[in-house]
Subunit: 526 residues, 2 copies
């Protein structure tokens, strides 16, 4: 188009094109005129090395040793207002000395929550995995991006190796495709976008304007990212039909079929089903095999959100939880959760072998994905992504897998799940503790009922009072720094604790401590 007439004269005339502004230009850049500032490097690398060395000592002392020491606090809670003062946040015109910066590093670690601590049970990640941590340091130090083989040869191949191994565990004997994403929510969005692209590739170009109303299905216990995907992708959150789950939190297959029929009867077009393998709250597994039957019957894309539960695939004892996952069209699986890879490490896997992932997301930027490179450009993964720059997260999983082997990964998962069962059994035996349900995975949900409430009859008054217990205990545990456990409501259930056991540094003693501590922090509540 526009360039057709210009390239040649540009080519030969380039010496002249900019002459009119040269004088001002030089005035603006005295360094160019005066020279010396550009003759030498403007940084001193040996000073940089010294600083990095000192800082690494701080990191080992504070973020490794202290952070995993059960004698230390899990967190040194400060209110936002107080913490602002302690951190000296202001960015100024002048810089600060290295010793001050080291102090900032210490403070940053000190006032951060120690998610590696054996008493941290607040999230679906926990614990320190040394090999993965080292790998993540390397990815930071090497500082590269995964778009092309050319700038990230090692990490491109490692991502490929990890994805292949994960697909093997899923049971896709003929392989597939995949990519690591910044978090499981992104992976779930990719799934929706791919399903839509397979359903109607034209939407990529023309948008949804002439499309029929597309409907997706997920259980009421599914992760909120499915809904966020519907919003972002222009599909609309109302077109996510929530399928009822049973009282264990598992999607009811017949209810899925009913919702599909409902959508059809409304004139809408079902296209996507999300099955959850390991729900966020209860750790429940949807019956993938039965859901796959329904998807096959109705020609729907089956995505399995196994971000949390995918880890069970490494365990011979527990992989039955995901029975049927090999029938999925796509899978999201976050090794940064149960498998303890450093944040973030989230794989999106797809069974398709016709480069659907690339066709769906590609933009073919000529400055990055030149086709006349001297190597096989099918190694350039950038156009599979909606990102441009992308972190080499797979390496964090590759290195730890290499170090531990599949067998140790399996032992860790088995141990974490055994620990969750031990905790559930202990909760059941303890006075004043009530299990919501037997854990299917590593989520143990329970109420603590303080002595003063134990005599109350079942009913709204008890619930109302009980509802306030967990938040107060949470506040007290944070301020004491003794441990961290999440709490929440669910439906009309009063607040309960959701405790997640992952970290292999955790022993029975820690779990016993937790229950003692909850009682000790909450026994006066009424």
């Amino acid at each position: 188009g526009r360039e057709t007439k210009r390239s040649l004269c540009k080519l030969t005339d380039s010496r002249e094109t900019d002459s009119p502004r040269r004088a001002t230009e030089i005035k603006c850049c005295p360094a160019v005129r005066d020279g010396p500032a550009l003759r030498e490097p403007a940084v001193e690398m040996s000073a940089a090395e010294r600083f990095i060395h000192e800082a690494l000592e701080v990191i080992i002392d504070e973020a490794v040793k202290k952070a995993t020491d059960v004698q230390e606090k899990v967190c040194d809670w400060q209110s936002p207002e107080k913490l602002r003062e302690l951190l000296d946040l202001e960015l100024k015109d002048g810089g600060e000395s290295d010793s001050k910066i080291l102090q900032h590093c210490k403070n940053a670690i000190r006032y951060s929550v120690k998610t590696s601590h054996p008493r941290f049970f607040n999230q679906l990640f926990a614990g320190l995995e040394p090999y993965s941590m080292v790998a993540s340091f390397i990815t930071e130090a090497v500082k590269t991006s995964l778009y092309t083989y050319e700038v990230a040869p090692v990490f491109t191949l490692m991502e490929d190796a990890v994805l292949k191994k994960m697909m093997e565990l899923i049971g896709w004997d003929e392989g597939g495709d995949g990519i690591f994403n910044p978090g499981g929510s992104m992976s779930n969005m990719y799934a929706v976008n791919l399903a839509r692209y397979r359903f109607c590739p034209d939407i990529k170009e023309v948008g949804l304007y002439n499309a029929p109303r597309l409907v997706m299905f997920t259980s009421q216990e599914g992760h909120y990212s499915i809904s966020k995907a519907a919003a972002l992708l222009g599909l609309g959150t109302k077109n996510v039909y929530a399928v009822p789950s049973d009282d264990r939190g598992k999607m009811i297959p017949s209810a899925l079929e009913e919702k599909i029929e409902l959508a059809r009867s409304e004139g809408a077009v079902p296209f996507f089903v999300n099955a959850t393998a390991g729900t966020t709250v209860f750790g429940a597994f949807d019956p993938v095999d039965e859901i796959a039957d329904i998807c096959e019957r109705h020609s729907l894309w089956l995505h399995v959100d196994a971000c949390w539960g995918g880890a069970a695939l490494v365990s011979n004892q527990h992989k039955h939880l995901l029975k049927g996952i090999h029938r999925a069209d796509s899978v999201a699986w976050n090794p940064h959760k149960m498998l303890m890879a450093c944040l973030q490490c989230s794989a999106f896997l797809i069974k398709d072998k016709t480069s659907l992932l690339q066709r769906c997301h590609s933009a073919k930027a000529s400055y990055l994905f030149q086709q006349d490179k001297f190597y096989d450009v099918s190694y350039d993964t950038g156009d599979k992504s909606v990102q441009c720059s992308r972190k080499p997260d797979a390496f964090k999983f590759w290195l730890m897998w290499k170090a531990l082997g599949s067998s140790e990964l399996e032992r860790r998962v088995d141990r974490a799940l055994a620990m969750a069962r031990y905790l559930a059994q202990t909760v059941k035996k303890r006075e004043g503790f009530h299990l919501l349900m037997k854990p299917e995975y590593a989520n143990v949900c329970f109420w603590y009922v303080p002595p003063a409430l134990r005599g109350l009859p079942d009913g709204p008054e008890l619930w109302r009072k009980l509802h306030t217990v967990a938040p107060v205990i949470k506040e007290r545990m944070m301020k004491t720094g003794s441990m961290m456990i999440g709490y929440q409501t669910h439906g009309d259930k009063p607040n309960f604790f959701r405790m997640v056991v992952i970290n292999p540094q955790v022993s029975k003693q820690d779990l016993d401590f937790v229950l003692d501590e909850i009682h000790s922090l909450g026994k006066d509540l009424r």
Copy 2:
């Protein structure tokens, strides 16, 4: 709904609910029955510390010292097939010894491209920034996610501080809102989604089915992520209207106005304009002030993609390039490019102060964003994001800014741009080198014409031959490992080099070396 009748009996009957399966359960988990495996931690932290220590020495030697040593290679090129063998990628059932893992670490660094090397000019990032590197190590070691203040108190406040300071530089005197994203492409997508949400909030719930055809505008030189956003968001890539740019690569405001009229005349609804501050190829700046006039007149959302050019805002000498940016509704700005923060460090900023960001993206997950917490939950930033888990990338910028001060950031930008001007002047003077255009920013684009082609008359034959020159020189520089520079076509222009100068370790000598080396690698080509 579903839970209404159940919570109470669950609460009191929990000890009984799971009894039928208990026997099998215990059989599955011998560890629970046998006990000892759960009594002690399953990891030995002192061994972990030892390993981390040794690995950090490797990182300093290989990824800091060697990687920045001009005597070392920029890359140790291996073909994918050969590299596969060298890396021993296979993941096995058994683990490997720490010494073997350290060897894998060395190999991973050795065969990675040294983007910190003073001869790396291939991307819009380069160089080693020691403070940012240390900060990124800390974020990895601390291993947390930004959704709630509770689990990331320090990084929440630091993100806030950095965003505020960046908004100050943009010139939003009354502040605004913002969030760090995994890359500028995500930030650009956020902008499109917010513009759409402001235009019609209902689309979040009901989708695009009953919406008019929405049209967005970006220059032909704009980044491909705008097009990727249109695809992902269900708006359609055809509804991105490419506005012509002038021969410097700057959007032509009158052409924008024409395109807006065109869309209107077709019955479509314009809603979003992307102005680029620092285009990917030429480093051109769209005239933001004039574009803002047009957006005001037509009530369109103005987004400025300043991922690359935003850095000029820290320089009194160069900030005029972004004149008018304070009038933008949103800005994307990646400190990981010119400002050298570690990858990734990408800010998305929005002028709105009515929590549009949160309203547009929120899903209000009850397990994470409880409203009965004991602190001010407006500090929980998670619902501003389409991600769930999110990295504390702002810290990588905060710590280096604290160490260097705004004044040193400014000096670095001024120096990089002076260096680009020096390079351009040198290219112009050298026989056989042809500048495409005078650089407006840090992108220097030029052809190298080997002696054998210098006599050829302008015309298709010259172009065709010239087109093959850069790829061959690129192959040779990679295989020599002497330097890395990108090349590409543009419109119908034959392949040219795009060289980007960022790293303060680079001196004039390095630039002179580059031109000598190109000649030396390509002088035999014909």
